[in-house]
């Protein structure tokens, strides 16, 4: 740019930096405050940002390491590690199943010409916009009836929840389809010449080439299932079956006041792995999130 940028422009740059600094501080502050709450003794919310005394009582609750019997009794009511395990289990099953089915469907939509594929894609786009739980009355009845025939998929089971989450397969079909379309079809044509069938092409050519988008999808659908809350609250009633997202609620609905310290420690414990993966892999994950028009 051949423009002469004078002092006025310098001031603008500094103003921009100042704005960003204030803005980012405001942005990050709530998260820092939570770290501080989790390290302060007691379950109160207010206090100095830098704790005067550091106590790990809330972190011991997260990992279930009790020092006294009385503490053990409290900790037993909030089995954070068990909830985490439930969440991880459900999220892993969900993302594995959806990835498998979504990549199959995406391959067919991207590469195979078949009757009705165009209309189907359009219909799917519209169906995908409905929130998953908008048919909650019907879903509740369906799950109860299903549980009558298949108890493992009935009401208040992880199976039912996984089944409902797997319905989010749609969004992934779109993302993976876009990626497969961008691949060079020459390899597939060569394989077809050698007599490979569609399944072999998918297994030996498409999937190895699509690993980046598959990983992105896996992470996104894992995070989605991990953080899902409404369907879980509709489906699960037994406390030991709660997911972390659901169990964390119970810290804030106690008769003797909200347990902010325990909540804060659990929140950080739950958020840290996902946030870290997200920030490290932002380059790939963001392209996945912003290129697909279907989100959530």
């Amino acid at each position: 740019m051949a423009m002469v940028e004078g002092k006025k422009s310098n001031i603008k740059v500094w103003l921009a930096y100042l704005f960003l600094a204030v803005f980012i501080t405001g942005l990050i502050y709530p998260l820092l405050a939570m770290v501080s709450v989790s390290l302060r003794p007691g379950n109160l919310l207010n206090g100095p940002l830098i704790p005067e005394t550091i106590s790990f009582e809330h972190w011991r609750l997260v990992f279930g390491i009790a020092q006294t019997e009385q503490e053990q009794a409290v900790f037993d009511k909030f089995p954070v590690l068990l909830w985490t395990w439930n969440s991880v289990k459900i999220a892993l099953a969900t993302s594995t199943i959806t990835l498998l089915f979504a990549s199959m469907a995406a391959y067919a939509f991207a590469r195979i010409k078949f009757f009705g594929s165009k209309w189907l894609l359009m219909a799917l786009l519209i169906i995908g916009l409905f929130p998953a739980f908008s048919g909650m009355v019907a879903i509740r009845i369906m799950v109860e009836k299903l549980g009558y025939y298949v108890p493992a998929l009935g009401f208040d089971t992880h199976g039912a929840l996984i089944l409902l989450y797997v319905g989010s397969v749609l969004g992934e079909v779109w993302l993976i389809k876009g990626y497969i379309e961008s691949l060079d079809p020459a390899l597939e044509e060569a394989a077809t010449m050698d007599g490979a069938n569609r399944w072999q092409i998918l297994r030996y050519i498409i999937i190895p080439l699509s690993v980046p988008i598959l990983v992105v999808n896996f992470v996104l659908s894992f995070a989605g299932a991990f953080g899902e809350f409404i369907l879980a609250s509709l489906m699960l009633t037994t406390e030991s079956k709660y997911t972390l997202a659901l169990g964390m609620q119970s810290f804030l609905y106690q008769p003797y006041g909200q347990m902010w310290g325990d909540f804060a420690a659990t929140a950080i414990f739950a958020a840290l792995p996902i946030t870290t993966v997200f920030l490290i892999g932002q380059k790939w994950l963001i392209s996945g999130l912003t290129s697909g028009s279907v989100k959530g």
Binding site: I28, N46, A138, G167, V169, L170, Q200, L252, A270
Partner: protein
């Protein structure tokens, strides 16, 4: 497995024999599916599960067909995903709409047949036939002696009192046979205060007599016979209008009842044979046509509440999109400015809200906005000396929801805008600079026109998403504060989807109104579908024009 497939891959001309054997197996499988579907259908039909029967039929036929038709490769690939979408997204929507035409609710939960058989099981205590009792202690055990009005005496054998039911259990009934006896009681009857102590255990007793109705305790001194309250009546002296439904006789009050299919309840009849407002619960499920669809608008004082919710839902979605987009655009422009250094680190810091799982950040903000201990009020008090009531003032609650949603969503738009700004040719700005154009001019006449086409469908998408943004409301304010002078529980920050949730969960009306909730859902479906069709149309226009340019 892997080895065999790779062998087939390397030797494409496998023998036709093994192929036809494979085909035979596939056909066998298809036949097996058809047979088991037929078997399941008979059972489902017999049980009256028509909706499930239809789904089973569709799934069975389609999977068998795909196995049979070798040309349907494409459909085979998409089949599992389509089954999931069909079962978990489409079917619930269709099913909801059918429920919307019924009066299904926690008041009208059972089928007609189940309701009739439930009513026929009901009993009432006949006061005229009461028996006075006395309780006697026999060692650790107890014994009951009863006397009827004719002076006949009955007694139980000595028995152990039943255990108290646990908190979440229903009381178990304990049956005790009763014998006529002439013996006098073994000792003094227990005092009233001792009887009161074991009252709940006595209530669990059913004293059975041969050939007569069982007895249960009422009050502190008596056992009464339990007689069936209703019986099916065949004939009445009432001038009945022509109705085909069952006629029941209430034996206690000697009045007739009949099923009213318009309301889904059994109602007592008056002398003319017409229905009175006096009804018996539980009701049964019945088709009510469009009543729910009209009721949504007709709930008297709640009509205004519903209107308020609708307006708030639209403004929430609109303001959210506007705020998120503006802030995202502003930040993207700053980050894209060539004189700002450290773009990567700034971007990473700015997308932190995007990286933290939403449900956690929303709950963190609930702490931040806490009226007494929250950091937001602490800051406001320090700066301006005010303390705001973020949860009980409707407008502040709305502002709070909007601010938190802005925090959650602006990074998405910032990232989108950063990508789009990069795609605008630099020389356009250079030319504008030459002409001495200001920042506003460049934004208005270069940037916005260049990004408006690709961004509009995404704005609409975000609008629909936020229109149904359940999480942020549910976790932050739970819909509160509650509106005053409305008899139903309706909150000021509730979105439509949250209102439906309240109807269905029973928070709003005090009972679980499935039919009404589904009717409202159906309106919501229509609204979302029309918006998404509009968006789809916009996207198509865009691709068309782009194709035209490329050609």
């Amino acid at each position: 497995m892997t080895i065999s497939t790779s062998m087939t891959l390397s030797s494409p001309h496998s023998s036709s024999n093994s192929l036809s054997f494979k085909r035979f197996l596939v056909l066998l499988l298809a036949g097996g599916i058809l047979l088991s579907v037929a078997y399941a259908l008979v059972h489902l039909y017999a049980m009256g599960e028509y909706a499930i029967a239809i789904v089973t039929l569709i799934l069975g036929l389609s999977s068998a067909y795909l196995l049979y038709d070798q040309a349907a490769t494409g459909w085979r690939f998409i089949y599992p995903a389509m089954v999931l979408v069909f079962l978990l997204m489409l079917f619930p929507i269709v099913y909801s709409v059918t429920i919307a035409f019924t009066n299904y609710s926690s008041k009208n939960l059972l089928t007609y047949e189940r309701t009739v058989s439930y009513l026929l099981e009901q009993t009432y205590a006949e006061k005229a036939e009461r028996l006075r009792f006395s309780l006697h202690a026999v060692g650790e055990q107890h014994q009951l002696f009863l006397k009827d009005k004719h002076g006949n005496q009955f007694a139980t054998a000595p028995f152990n009192l039943p255990d108290k039911p646990k908190d979440d259990e229903l009381a178990q009934l304990m049956e005790l046979p009763l014998q006529a006896t002439s013996e006098s009681p073994p000792n003094e009857a227990l005092k009233m205060r001792d009887v009161i102590k074991v009252r709940s255990a006595l209530k669990q007793l059913r004293l059975t007599r041969e050939g007569e109705a069982p007895l249960s305790m009422l009050g502190m001194r008596e056992f009464l016979p339990l007689l069936p309250q209703y019986e099916v009546a065949s004939d009445t002296n009432l001038p009945l209008p022509d109705r085909s439904t069952d006629l029941l006789l209430d034996k206690q009050s000697n009045r007739y009842l009949q099923a009213n299919y318009d309301t889904g309840f059994f109602a007592y009849l008056d002398e003319k044979g017409d229905f009175t407002d006096d009804i018996v619960t539980p009701g049964f499920v019945t088709q009510v046509g469009f009543a729910n669809f009209l009721d949504v608008f007709g709930m008297a004082e709640e009509r205004w509440a519903l209107l308020k919710i609708t307006l708030w839902t639209i403004s929430f979605a609109f303001l959210t999109v506007l705020m998120q987009f503006s802030l995202g655009m502003l930040l993207a422009s700053i980050l894209n400015w060539h004189r700002i250094k450290g773009q990567r680190i700034l971007r990473t810091l700015l997308i932190v809200p995007f990286a933290v799982p939403g449900f956690i950040s929303i709950m963190i903000f609930r702490a931040m906005f806490n009226t007494d201990f929250g950091e937001v009020n602490a800051l406001l008090e320090y700066l301006f000396g005010v303390k705001l009531d973020w949860y009980y003032n409707p407008w502040l609650a709305k502002l709070q929801v909007l601010l938190v949603n802005l925090w959650l969503g602006f990074p998405y738009f910032m990232l989108l805008c950063m990508g789009m700004l990069k795609s605008i040719p630099e020389d356009l700005y250079e030319a504008a600079n030459m002409d001495g154009a200001g920042t506003w001019y460049k934004l208005r006449y270069i940037t916005l026109p260049m990004i408006i086409k690709p961004i509009v469908p995404l704005l609409i998408l975000s609008f629909t998403f936020n229109f149904n943004n359940f999480n942020v409301i549910f976790l932050l304010t739970a819909g509160g504060p509650m509106m005053e002078n409305v008899s139903a529980q309706i909150g000021d920050t509730q979105l439509l989807i949250h209102y439906i949730y309240g109807l269905v969960k029973g928070h709003t009306l005090g009972y679980e109104a499935y039919g009404l909730g589904s009717a409202l859902s159906a309106y919501l479906f229509l609204f979302i579908a029309s918006i998404s069709l509009w968006q789809f149309w916009l996207t198509r226009e865009k691709t068309k024009s782009r194709e035209a340019v490329e050609v």
